[in-house]
Amino acid sequence: MSVKIRVKVNGAEYSHEVEPRLLLVYYLRDVLRLTGTHVGCDTSSCGACAIHLNGKATKSCTILAVQANGCEIATIEGMARNGELHPLQQAFNECHGLQCGFCTPGMIMTAADLLQRNPEPSEGEIRYALEGNFCRCTGYQNIIKSVQYAANKIKEEVIV
């Protein structure tokens, strides 16, 4: 049995017949071939699969593709606009916020959601917001700095 879904991903409309048990993350990775969204665990703990579902950071392994029917989704592949990287994408390079890069898309999507809600987060607020995203390489320190850097950059852009 399969079910038809329609979703908008990074601005493009898609329609597919999917098995009801297909997780959204596998729909993105295996059907749409948007492989920037990663799978790091099977308990919705690690955050490597974080995307934006209707504008909110969501672990895409926690929901089924059929539940996303009619939703608007953004993945890491959709973060750059008109060829220009999102301030967080720039910041992670500037502040050495990544090493192996596997957790990075999820970190950026979660951090982007934080900065939308709270444009000037404290160090503690950033740490708390990223508590559901595991990184085994960086020790988190340069990820925190990346988010601070991006927050400042977004603020400057708004002022200009």
Binding site: T35, H38, C135, G139
Partner: protein, 794 residues
């Protein structure tokens, strides 16, 4: 050769970042090949069980199922080998029971593979796994190494008596050490567990193997730290297929920390199976499988005694360790508790007599092998806990006790290297330097006053020092060969100058987060005086890289970087001949700097780009010189490198709940010369958080039935962003005297130094409140710390 454009030593931003920040990395699970099939495994739910029967009939009839294989199908295939031979004290070779690709007789740990299902989709493979009926007869389990050697313990392998893989000793004769301990004014004794850890690279292991019958060639994509090593082990030792017909690619790899060094059964099994079914087979581990299958780390049970004279000088060290190897011998399992642990027990101290005795033991648990630091964290933990506890027992300052016992500074050039009692010769060191800097950064004296004030108010503050040394840059092949390594540990670096002067570099090192594409390019661009954009670093593909031993043991820059420098030297030497011919001068009169070949003492010069073009368009060219500008070098190091440092932790312990909060962490690391300070600092941060993870959060727990009771991220406590303060780092530079870059390696330092610093800090906090606790078993959970405070001795 002169440094030419100042790129070495700069915090250049990483060139590899963009593909990762935009979601365009290429990890093994991202690859789907034409006609792809998917694998899933039937795995033993028991820690130890006889396989009575396997019924695959229903599963075979299920939709999408292509093939099902069991242990009987691979009975004639070799198991995966061990790469390091350790001998028993009596000279007998260690016990190496077969690690089969699928078990046929009995399962020896939870997760042991019983059957392989290949289907059209992941879901269909998983469905068929559920339909396979295996009848088991449960057997008694043993999970603890010190219990497994006792009479009557269940045997993991029926032909390995006492579950003993080897017993091994190193250092001074035990009688001499016993005597020195007995004659000591003070002896500090510690019995402790260095608990088992799960590496937890965030990318789960993934393999995709294919066979092309038209060309009789295999391609294996694998999440590995060392593609050539995997190819060699799989072809020559397991499957008996010709190495030149197999391409192994380690594309982007999402962290390794040791766990992706080893040749795992699934790599060989998928490669065996792809030829059987004639289609590519892919398997990606689920996280719950990773917990049960990726080789674990540490798991030592140790008793150690450190003797002191009446002035606090260390007189002797005696160590007895039971090292848990798990159910099977993983690739480097035997060398980790021996040659990477026993050899580091000199530490930074002048200890005149040392004896270490290690028994390697099989149990009904996941295999244990190298995990970030590999043996050196265990050695450092042992030494630094003992020294710190001794200071508390003797009512001395822990920093002062260390200063008193440090080996004095030596540069390895004017002063010779330091010969230890445990086989190694340290290259260069300034140990008091890092401790002095660390104490200054912390404000040590002020802290002690603050601690006293806090104690008056009933608050428990503690400071913990750890000073470490490690052996990196693994390793001189002849030395490790004499110690039992079954491979050389050199590295390969090819530098191919293209006709336009652009440079392609092929390295046998493998980056899975270390940033080689940046650091190595800095080295090449600097040495050749060209722009970094003109250099590209390639790694991870046996098809393009001549050979390689891969990345582990903080070896990439010290060994892999040195191989590249060797090739650059050859390029410059040949370039001088080409340039001299163009300028009608003698090659001996040429010098190379700032990207130009110049006739010494003149302004006559020719650019690097010109020389490159001439090498490929050799119209006006030296008579006896080959065209081209492309050199490959093998670099075999003269010695290990010995990074060292000082880590200091400050903690607050809640006396009502036992909860530990890490307030500050100061790290001063000496990793020799530094190519990219930003990348080194990143390595240190990550290592420290992993090491603190061991001290405060992590630990694999088995019950008596061989069940891993915390085998998921819901149960195994990973360090998280909100567990840490900002780490304060500094570096000291004592160059390595024996490699061309003077580098020592920075990958494992953080993990090695940090764990005992945190535990020492907690013990120090408890002593400040009058709780004279000797040891608390890691991880230091609130419950364990609280319980320690309630004990009558405390």
């Amino acid at each position: 050769m002169s440094t030419t454009n100042g790129l070495i030593g700069k915090s250049v931003k990483r060139v590899e970042d963009k593909r990762f920040t935009t979601g365009r990395g290429n990890y093994t699970d991202d690859i789907i090949l034409p006609h792809q099939t998917y694998a899933s495994f039937v795995r033993s739910p028991y820690g130890h069980a006889k396989i009575i029967s396997i019924d695959t009939r229903a599963a075979k009839a299920m939709p999408g199922v292509i093939a099902i294989f069991t242990g009987a199908d691979v009975a004639d295939v070799n198991g995966v080998p061990c790469g390091w031979q350790v001998n028993f004290k009596n000279g007998d070779i260690m016990k190496e029971p077969k690690h089969p690709l699928l078990v046929a007789d009995k399962a020896r740990h939870t997760g042991d593979a019983v059957a392989l299902v290949i289907a059209e989709s992941k879901e269909e493979a998983a469905d068929a796994v559920q339909a396979i009926n295996v009848e088991y007869e449960e057997l008694p389990c043993v999970v603890d190494a010190s219990k497994a050697v006792q009479n009557g313990a269940p045997l993991v392998h029926d032909d390995v008596p006492g579950n003993t893989c080897f017993d091994w000793t190193l250092g001074n004769p035990i009688a001499e050490v016993d005597e020195a301990i007995n004659n000591s004014a003070h002896v500090t004794t510690l019995e402790f567990v260095n608990q088992r850890l799960v590496p937890n690279a965030i990318e789960p292991r993934s393999y995709n193997s294919s066979y092309d019958s038209a060309y009789d060639r295999y391609v294996l994509y694998t999440s590995t730290q060392n593609p050539h090593l995997i190819r060699l082990l799989m072809c020559a030792f397991v499957l008996g297929i010709p190495e030149h017909k197999v391409r192994v690619v380690g594309p982007d790899v999402g962290g390794g920390f040791g766990s992706k060094i080893f040749h795992y059964t699934e790599e060989a099994l998928l490669t065996w199976a792809t030829k059987k079914i004639g289609r590519p087979v892919k398997w990606t581990s689920e996280r719950s499988e990773s917990f049960l299958l990726d080789a674990h780390g540490r798991d030592h049970v140790t008793k150690a005694d450190m003797g002191f004279d009446d002035e606090g000088n260390i007189t002797a060290l005696r160590v007895k360790t039971f090292a848990n190897l798990g159910a099977y011998l993983s690739t480097f399992a035997s060398c980790v508790p021996t040659y990477l642990h026993g050899t580091l027990l000199q530490g930074l101290y002048k200890t005149p007599k040392i004896n270490v005795d290690v028994t390697g033991v099989f149990t009904n648990t996941t295999a244990v092998d190298a995990y970030r630091g590999a043996g050196r964290p265990e050695a450092t933990y042992l030494l630094e806990r003992l020294v710190d506890l001794a200071a508390h027992e003797m009512n001395m300052d822990p920093a002062e006790l260390r200063f008193k016992n440090f080996i004095p500074p030596f540069d390895g050039v004017k002063q010779p290297g330091y010969q230890t009692q445990v086989a190694l010769q340290y290259d260069s060191g300034n140990y008091e330097g890092v401790l002095k800097t660390g104490l200054e950064m912390l404000g040590y004296e002020n802290f002690r006053n603050e601690q006293k004030e806090a104690a008056k108010n009933g608050n428990l503050l503690g400071v913990g020092i750890s000073t470490y040394i490690e052996a990196c840059g693994i390793a001189p092949s002849a030395v490790v060969g004499a110690l039992g390594a079954r491979a050389g540990l050199f590295e390969v670096g090819q530098v191919r100058v293209q006709p336009t002067g652009k440079v392609s570099v092929y390295t046998g090192s493998h980056s899975h987060g270390q940033g080689h594409e940046t650091t190595f390019a800095q080295v090449v661009a600097d040495k050749l005086g060209i722009a970094m954009e003109d250099v590209e670093i390639s790694h991870g593909d046996t098809e393009s890289v001549a050979f390689g031993m891969g990345t582990y043991g903080s070896r990439s820059l010290a060994v892999g970087g040195s191989a590249i420098v060797k090739s650059i030297d050859k390029i410059i030497e040949k370039g001088k001949k080409i340039a001299a011919h163009k300028l009608e001068a003698s090659a001996d009169d040429m010098e190379f700097a700032d990207g130009k070949f110049t006739v010494k003492g003149t302004d006559k010069s020719v650019s690097f780009g010109d020389v490159a073009l001439t090498a490929y368009v050799p119209h006006v060219y030296p008579k006896d010189l080959e065209p081209g500008l492309d050199f490959s070098s093998f670099y075999d190091p003269a010695n290990f490198t010995y990074p060292f440092g000082c880590h200091i932790a400050v903690v607050e312990v809640n006396k009502e709940t036992g909860k530990v909060v890490l307030k500050r962490f100061v790290a001063v690391d000496d990793v020799g010369n530094i190519i990219n300070p930003m990348i080194v600092e990143g390595q240190i941060h990550g290592g420290i958080v992993q090491g603190v993870g061991q001290a405060l959060f992590e630990g694999a727990e088995y019950d008596d039935n061989g069940q891993l009771t915390n085998g998921s991220y819901m149960d195994y406590c990973m360090p998280r962003a909100d567990d840490f303060p900002m780490i304060e780092t500094a570096t000291q530079v004592t160059p390595c005297p024996h490699n061309p870059l003077g580098v020592k390696g920075a990958g494992e330092a953080g993990t090695i130094g940090s764990t005992p610093a945190v535990v020492n800090a907690v013990i120090d906090a408890l002593w400040s409140g009058g709780h004279k606790v000797k040891d608390i078993r890691m991880p230091l959970t609130s419950e364990r710390v609280w319980t320690a405070m309630q004990s009558p001795n405390s």
